[in-house]
Amino acid sequence: MKIIEKFKKTFFTENPVTGLLLGLCPTLAVTSSAKNGIGMGLATAFVLTGSNLVISMLKNIIPNKVRIPAFIVVIATFVTIVDMSLQATMFELHKTLGLFIPLIVVNCIILGRAEAFASKNNVWDSFIDGIANGLGFTFALFILGSIREILGSGSVLGFRFWPEEYRTILVFVLAPGAFLTLGFMLVGMNKISKLLQGGK
């Protein structure tokens, strides 16, 4: 099944974050909790799917010379829509994600997929590619966010592992912890990818 293959790739072997090392800024910045990671992931997935869709539809009209600025305008439009919609519907999440919502525009994953895939493939495939990569990104953010949240605050998604007074390894919710956790996660994901590829 082609779609399952695609998702296996975007979640593990070619995960935009752990496989291709794209979109690192928001990955490290908003994953101090699992919920923030998921929120950011889904917002990005929405922009990615939308921009892939539109760019694929317009691929024969946009002249080659100005394709990058044109892509950027499309992507930025979707990002602004997400920004305003979130502020109107999920005010708290919008405050938490803050600066990183407009920064979705420079998330290299989106421009990367537009350039590498959407501009060269048909609308349906580009749409699936957007969803697959968006969810793969969300998956990576969820894992990173969960690890950091469990080690750093002792709970995940509202489910407490131990009472608030117990000491936790605070550094994981802070900046250094983000880098360290991602480093170890990369090791883990590389191993899983090798297994998935070797086992075929």
């Binding site: 690192l24 990058i68 950027i72 602004t80 305003m84 600066l99 420079v106 802070l174 990369l186 590389n190």
Partner: protein, 192 residues
């Protein structure tokens, strides 16, 4: 005068754009393998960031706010940055072709350097005036350069050392970045 000094020290050390604000990480990972490319990238980013800060300030307060189209901020800012980078590319090709070649794909990628868009938006959010915006942008870029050069130096040295096989490449890079971030946390006592 003192507030500018504090702003500069703050932006370079205490609130370093890479280690505290998590901006500019993609080029950070990509260009830090060799020391001279890192230095070249640092300089290019400093120029683009400072100019972007100045131009976006003018656009924000003289165009976007008066016409009440602040919601177009993201699009307008990123287009300004893209044009600036294009401009830098053209100039660099003529004036320093060797550096242009060495930076390769990473030069146009400065456009997607979240640090530039991020600092531009932050300056507006912090309600800095024109001079503070320019100083803040310049200092943040210097902070980026410092982080980049430190990192590149360490990575170059690592090439000749024994790293456990599973860690080779990006994992060990991340862990070093984490340790550097911890070191920079020590600066937080400096201001006040």
């Amino acid at each position: 005068m003192a507030q500018y000094a504090l702003l500069i020290i703050g932006a370079i050390f205490v609130n370093n754009v890479v280690f505290t604000k998590f901006l500019g990480i993609c080029p950070y990972m990509g260009v830090s393998k060799k020391l001279d490319t890192a230095i070249g990238m640092g300089m290019a980013v400093t120029f683009v960031l400072t100019m972007a800060g100045a131009i976006t300030y003018i656009i924000q307060y003289y165009i976007l706010v008066p016409i009440k189209i602040e919601y177009l901020q993201t699009i307008v800012f990123i287009l300004v940055i893209a044009s600036l980078v294009q401009f830098v590319e053209i100039v660099m090709k003529k004036v320093a072709p060797a550096l242009y070649k060495a930076l390769g794909i990473f030069l146009p990628l400065i456009t997607t350097n979240c640090a530039i868009l991020g600092i531009a938006i932050l300056s507006v959010q912090s309600k800095f005036d024109f001079i503070m915006t320019v100083v803040f942008s310049f200092a943040s870029a210097v902070g980026f350069g410092v982080a980049l050069i430190l990192f590149a130096g360490i990575r170059e040295a690592l090439e000749t050392r024994d790293v456990p096989k599973v860690f080779v490449g990006s994992p060990i890079a991340m862990i070093i970045a984490g340790i550097l971030a911890m070191a920079f946390m020590g600066f937080s006592g400096m201001v006040k």
